[in-house]
């Protein structure tokens, strides 16, 4: 389809005519500021196609404030190689005319034709809506709608599909989607959509089946218990009858009675035995007492012998103790003598030792005294020398700093002299022969010169006097300072008692030598008498006194007679030994005394006891009592023997009885009888219980109930199986249908995807745009910073969606073109959100698309499209050309 001419009259913004002529078969760019009428032109094209000429709902096509007008649009285009002209007027003059290669159609007929040609629909009444617009609705992008692609695609899906099918020569199933949704709905009645779990009636049936199954199990359990009890009852009855017949407890009871009788007899014997044993014990006790009495008689005799023997022994012991005591007394005397002698020798040895010590001490004092006296002489001589030196130094004392001051003053005086001479007034005279003048009284003759340092009076004989005052003030001050310093110097010399500096220096040297000698002397004194001379002298005196004292003491000691020399250590040791021995002997003596007195006491005691014992033995009634005791003993022993024989006989009998075994027999038989009876009673009770229980259980009709339950369960199971079968069949069917549909969709989409990729490569290399079943873009996959990115179309930025929207439409156009369908693309202010680089790419895309399709681009940004490769046509210019100003 190629639009070649558009004319608009009395249409919205354009009151009178506007005409676009000579439209390019490829790209056409119309520009103009806002409100210039771009959108009005687009609206005119849309109205010409979409709106029925007879429609009364198109008031918005009327220019503002105008009534009675007939908005008119005229389009000329080429389609399928034939020339078409469509002219449509609305409202005041409702007309439609279509010329196809000179053939003329009018009214509804014309509208029907145009609608089929372009692939859209018209509402039977009222204004045209988006759902009617079909292919043009998709390809003619309205302002701000580029990114909204899905609704537009939905309204054109059928046409796109049929275009795809035509290009592929393949047919999708008619009404396939409807079929799938029907199957889905049927499946949803039985299974959940997501997980395929049973739901609704199916789920209820399954649950009920499980409940019934559990109930049936319970009932089965009950029935099984019931049957067990029936068997149990039969067993009990059989046993009961046998017991009644055989009566096993009676025999047991008889045995029990016999055993009890035996046991009673045995117990009687036991009691008798105990009595006899008690009597025997009493007899034995009596015998024991008797024996004790007899033994006491024997003991009296034995006691006398014993006492006598003891007395003999203690007398002997006393004698031996007294002998020992005497021996120790002799020994003590001997040792005491030896010790007294030893004491005398010890005193002597000690005196000898004192004397030797004194002599040694005196000798040492002599040495010390001599040494100190020699040092005293040396000290006194050094003292004299020191006093001499002090005297010498006292007369010529001079300080080193004073000499230094003298040196400085002399140097300064020399400098002042030189300065003064330099400043002095030079009097150069050359007198005639024999002529004489006087300078301050000094006669001057011949030639010479004088330096005048102050005012001078020059007497010129015969002529008077010349008074000369040297001109520089400096000279007089120099003179003053010189004088001052000279006086100071002279004064210092006088004070030091020298006549010159030289002399002062000589004296300083001399003085230093004296000082050195004095220090040496001082050191010598310190060494000889560290504590001073007086201390040394006192030391000497003290020693001398001590020596005299010691000599006197020695003299006193020496007065005793001469004796042989004694070794003091040996004497001391001997003395100590004797001392120890003396103590030991003394100790032993005391012990001996103690033993002797003890032996004496023992002796006395033994004597007394012997007397007592003898008295008892000789008592008069003793013999008679002894005889009686012996007689009684013999009788009692005989009685005991008889008793023991009786006991033995009883014990033998009891051993044969074994009463404890008898008692066990009785117990055992008693229990057996009880058990037998209890068992019988219990069984009777159990039977009654079981009978009652079974009666009540039987009345519940357990098996009949089970039969009913089993029937219900079987029915439910069948129902569940049927539902499951149906569910599985639906599952299978749905899976197959979806699978086939999916594959078909993929096959169908292939050519469209191919076109889409051609544009996408220009805009976003390596990106892929996926389509949904309705052929609308659904997601974008592209390489990103972190690997491949995959995002929903709706999540893309506005700009990107707009760009994708445009290239998708171009791809649809390619697809339609291939299917031989008309394609005309209109972009009203699209791509305003594209950045510079994307817009550049989009221009390449559009230029490429324009080689296949006619594109009308409307924009209010002429500069953005300057490089589109086509001349812009300004809408205001067109309007002016049509001598029509836009109305407000």
């Amino acid at each position: 389809m190629r639009l070649s001419k558009l004319r608009v009259e009395q249409f919205k913004r354009f009151r009178s005519g506007v005409e676009l002529d000579h439209l390019d078969p490829g790209l056409n760019l119309f520009t103009g500021p806002n409100e210039a009428g771009k959108s009005t032109l687009v609206a005119a094209i849309r109205a010409a196609f979409f709106e029925r000429h007879r429609s009364s709902n198109v008031d918005e096509l009327r220019p503002w404030g105008e009534s009675g007008v007939a908005p008119t649009v005229m389009l000329e285009f080429e389609l399928d190689g034939r020339f078409h002209r469509l002219t449509k007027s609305f409202l005041a003059r409702k007309r439609c005319e279509l010329l196809i290669d000179g053939e003329r159609f009018e009214g509804d007929d014309a509208e029907e034709r145009i609608k089929d040609l372009l692939g859209f629909q018209q509402p039977s009444r009222g204004a045209s809506k988006a759902e009617h617009w079909g292919i043009p609705g998709l390809l003619w992008i309205r302002q701000g709608d580029a990114q909204e692609i899905r609704p537009a695609v939905e309204h054109a899906t059928d046409q796109l599909r049929s275009a795809l099918e035509r290009s592929l020569g393949e047919v999708a199933a008619s009404g396939g989607d409807e079929l799938i949704s029907r199957v889905e709905a049927l499946r949803l009645e039985l299974l959940t959509a997501a997980t395929g779990k049973p739901r609704g009636e199916f789920e209820r049936a399954l649950k009920q089946r499980d409940t019934l199954s559990t109930q049936l199990d319970e009932l089965d359990e009950q029935i099984s218990r019931y049957r067990q009890r029936v068997d149990e009852l039969a067993r009990l009855r059989a046993e009961h009858q046998r017991d009644q017949r055989e009566a096993p407890s009676r025999a047991l009871r008889e045995r029990l009675e016999a055993a009890e009788d035996q046991l009673r007899q045995a117990h009687e014997r036991q009691r008798r035995l105990a009595d006899e044993r008690l009597r025997a014990e009493q007899i034995e006790a009596r015998i024991r007492l008797l024996r004790e009495r007899l033994e006491s008689f024997t003991a009296q005799r034995l006691a006398v012998d014993e006492r006598r023997q003891a007395l003999t022994l203690s007398t002997q012991a006393l004698a031996s103790a007294n002998a020992e005591l005497a021996a120790w007394r002799g020994r003590l005397e001997q040792v005491d003598r030896a010790r007294r002698h030893s004491r005398d020798r010890l005193r002597q040895a000690r005196q000898q030792a004192s004397r030797a010590q004194l002599a040694q001490r005196i000798e040492r004092l002599d040495d010390e005294l001599d040494q100190r006296q020699r040092r005293l002489v040396q000290v006194e001589s050094a003292g004299q020398r020191a006093r001499k030196l002090a005297e010498l130094r006292g007369t010529s004392a001079i300080e080193a700093s004073e000499v230094e001051a003298l040196r400085a003053e002399q140097a300064r005086l020399r400098e002042l002299e030189i300065e003064r001479r330099a400043a002095a007034t030079l009097l150069d005279f050359s007198l005639d022969e024999q002529q004489r003048i006087e300078l301050d009284g000094e006669p001057l003759e011949g030639q010479g010169e004088r330096r005048l340092l102050g005012p001078a009076t020059l007497r010129l004989p015969g002529l008077g006097t010349l008074r000369i005052t040297p001109g520089g003030a400096n000279l007089s001050s120099l003179g003053a300072r010189h004088r001052e310093l000279s006086e100071l110097h002279a004064e210092r010399l006088a004070r030091l008692g020298v006549d010159s500096l030289h002399r002062a220096e000589a004296r300083l040297v001399e003085q230093r030598e004296l000082d050195s000698e004095a220090r040496a002397l001082e050191a010598t004194l310190a060494a000889l008498a560290p504590a001073g001379v007086e201390a040394l002298r006192e030391e000497c005196a003290a020693r001398r006194q001590e020596r005299e004292t010691l000599i006197r003491t020695l003299a006193e000691l020496t007065t005793e007679a001469r004796e042989p020399a004694l070794d003091i250590a040996a004497v001391e040791a001997e003395d100590e030994r004797l001392d120890g021995e003396l103590r030991e002997v003394d100790q032993a003596l005391r012990q001996a005394q103690l033993r002797a007195s003890r032996a004496q006491v023992q002796c006395d005691v033994d004597e007394r006891e012997l007397a007592t014992a003898q008295a008892a033995l000789e008592a008069p009634e003793r013999t008679a009592r002894l005889d009686a005791g012996h007689r009684e003993e013999t009788e009692t022993n005989a009685e005991l023997a008889t008793q023991l024989a009786r006991i033995e006989a009883l014990e033998r009998k009891l051993e044969a009885d074994q009463p404890e075994i008898l008692a066990q027999d009785v117990e055992r038989l008693k229990r057996s009888v009880q058990q037998q009876e209890r068992r019988f009673a219990e069984r009777r009770e159990a039977m009654t219980r079981l009978e009652v229980e079974l009666e009540s259980l039987g009345a519940q009709g357990l098996e009949e109930r089970r039969a009913e339950l089993a029937r219900d369960l079987a029915q439910l199971t069948r129902r569940c199986d049927e539902l499951e079968r149906r569910a599985r069949a639906l599952d299978l069917l749905l899976e197959r249908l979806r699978d086939k549909r999916q594959r078909l969709t993929q096959r169908l989409q292939a050519p469209l995807v191919h076109h889409l990729e051609r544009y996408l490569r220009l805009l976003l290399p390596e990106a892929r745009l996926e389509l949904d079943e309705g052929l609308a873009p659904v997601s974008l996959t592209r390489p990103g910073a972190h690997g491949v990115e995959h995002g929903d179309f709706d999540q893309l930025s506005f700009g990107a969606r707009e760009q994708m929207g445009v290239i998708s439409r171009l791809a649809y156009a390619d697809l339609l073109k291939e299917a031989g369908r008309p394609t005309l693309l209109i972009l009203d202010d699209a791509l305003v959100h594209a950045d510079e680089s994307r817009l550049a790419q989009m221009k390449r895309v559009l230029f490429d698309a324009a080689t296949r399709h006619q594109l009308l681009i409307f924009s209010c940004h002429p500069e953005a499209w300057a490089d589109l490769g086509v001349a812009e046509r300004r809408i205001p210019d067109l309007v002016h050309a049509g001598q029509d100003a836009p109305t407000r």
């Binding site: 396939g176 199957v183 029936v230 079974l694 009666e695 009949e704 039969a707 029937r711 029915q715 078909l744």
Partner: protein, 372 residues
């Protein structure tokens, strides 16, 4: 001449779990009606006694109501009824019989033989030798004692037992409750009335199974009968006549559908089904969609007529023809799905594929109807 009505295996209280509840209720009810019919027959033929050879009840613990109902059903015949317990209603320590006694449900003209003791019916001068089961299963021949049982001179000796005659019934080899094949001879019986086998069956001239009076399974042959036994005198051979007592016809039918006439025959057969038919139908072979629709319609109608109609179509395949597909307007991928499912019918999940195919066909049909 003495006339006896011989019956057995009433199985009162049997559940019929494989049927729908309403059907099962009617089948259970039919068993009481059969007993009532027996009573009527007994009266009609003026029999001297009715012999019931065990398994009167299907279970020990039936509801009290059932118990009363059964014994009331005997009222139609005022003469003596002689019953023994079978394996289903054995005379255990506690049994349905004891309960009936406690409930005072037993009519006075009922002779219940719970112990192996001769029963002398003096009016007819016959002695019944019963072999009641006192355990659920026993492996000894309870009829042994018949051989030595003494009976009055001139009285008829009639055996009454429940179990498997050895060596006759293939299925019951090694089965419990055995009965010697030559018992009638050895015990000099004039007639041996047997129960346990649900079809009427002659063992020898004097030994018969009566079968159940109302069929209760598909596999029994000659069920739904009672035997009228006529005895002239001791030692003479009895005359045995089979009387129809059953109402429901239990049929199990397997049909293979290959060609169109197979279906026609099946439809004809279905059309003939009536209210007393209890049918299990197994279908094999293949059908096109049109035939399938016809079959479904016919089955629907037959279900309305028959007492019960259960159809197993697991082995049936759907083979839509080209015309079928055209008629369904199944083009594009839906057509492909049909092809696939058709193929798959032969596979392991063939039944599911068949169901899916039938469903799809149904849906397409539905759609076609919506858009004529």
């Amino acid at each position: 001449m003495i006339r006896l009505l011989h019956t057995a295996d009433w199985q009162i209280g049997k559940p019929f779990g494989q049927f729908e509840p309403d059907e099962a209720a009617l089948l259970s009810e039919a068993r009481f009606l059969a007993v009532e019919r027996l009573a009527m027959l007994a009266t009609e033929h003026q029999v001297d006694a009715v012999l019931v050879a065990g398994d009167v009840f299907d279970a020990q613990t039936v509801a009290d109501k059932t118990l009363h109902r059964l014994f009331n059903a005997l009222a139609g015949f005022p003469g003596p009824w002689v019953m023994i317990p079978g394996n289903h209603d054995a005379a255990l320590a506690e049994s349905v019989w004891r309960r009936a006694e406690r409930l005072d449900a037993l009519p006075t003209n009922l002779h219940l033989c719970l112990r192996p003791e001769p029963l002398h019916l003096e009016a007819a001068n016959l002695v019944v030798l019963p072999a009641p089961l006192t355990q659920r299963h026993t492996y000894q021949d309870l009829t042994d004692w018949f051989d030595l049982a003494a009976t009055p001179e001139g009285a008829l000796r009639i055996g009454l037992a429940h179990g498997s005659v050895e060596g006759i019934l293939i299925e019951s080899i090694d089965s419990p409750n055995p009965i010697a094949q030559d018992r009638a001879d050895k015990a000099r019986l004039d007639y041996l009335a047997l129960g346990d086998w649900h079809g009427a069956k002659r063992i020898d001239a004097r030994s018969w199974y009566a079968g159940t009076p109302e069929p209760d399974r598909f596999k029994a042959n000659d069920a739904g009968r009672a035997l009228l036994v006529e005895l002239d005198a001791p030692g003479t051979e009895p005359r045995v006549t089979q009387l129809e007592t059953g109402r429901y016809r239990w049929r199990q039918e397997t049909r293979t559908l290959r060609v169109a006439s197979d279906l026609d025959a099946l439809l004809e057969w279905l059309a003939a089904l009536g209210g007393d038919d209890v049918v299990a139908l197994i279908l094999e072979g293949s059908l096109d969609l049109a035939a399938h629709r016809r079959l479904e319609t016919a089955l629907g109608q037959a279900r309305g007529r028959a007492r019960s109609l259960r159809v197993d179509t697991q082995a049936l395949r759907l083979e839509p023809t080209v015309e079928d597909l055209d008629a369904l307007a199944a083009d594009g991928y839906v057509g492909e799905v049909i092809d696939e499912l058709r193929e798959q019918q032969g596979g392991s999940e063939g039944a599911v594929a068949r169901d899916a195919l039938a469903l799809l066909a149904g849906l397409l049909d539905e759609r076609k109807e919506k858009r004529p």
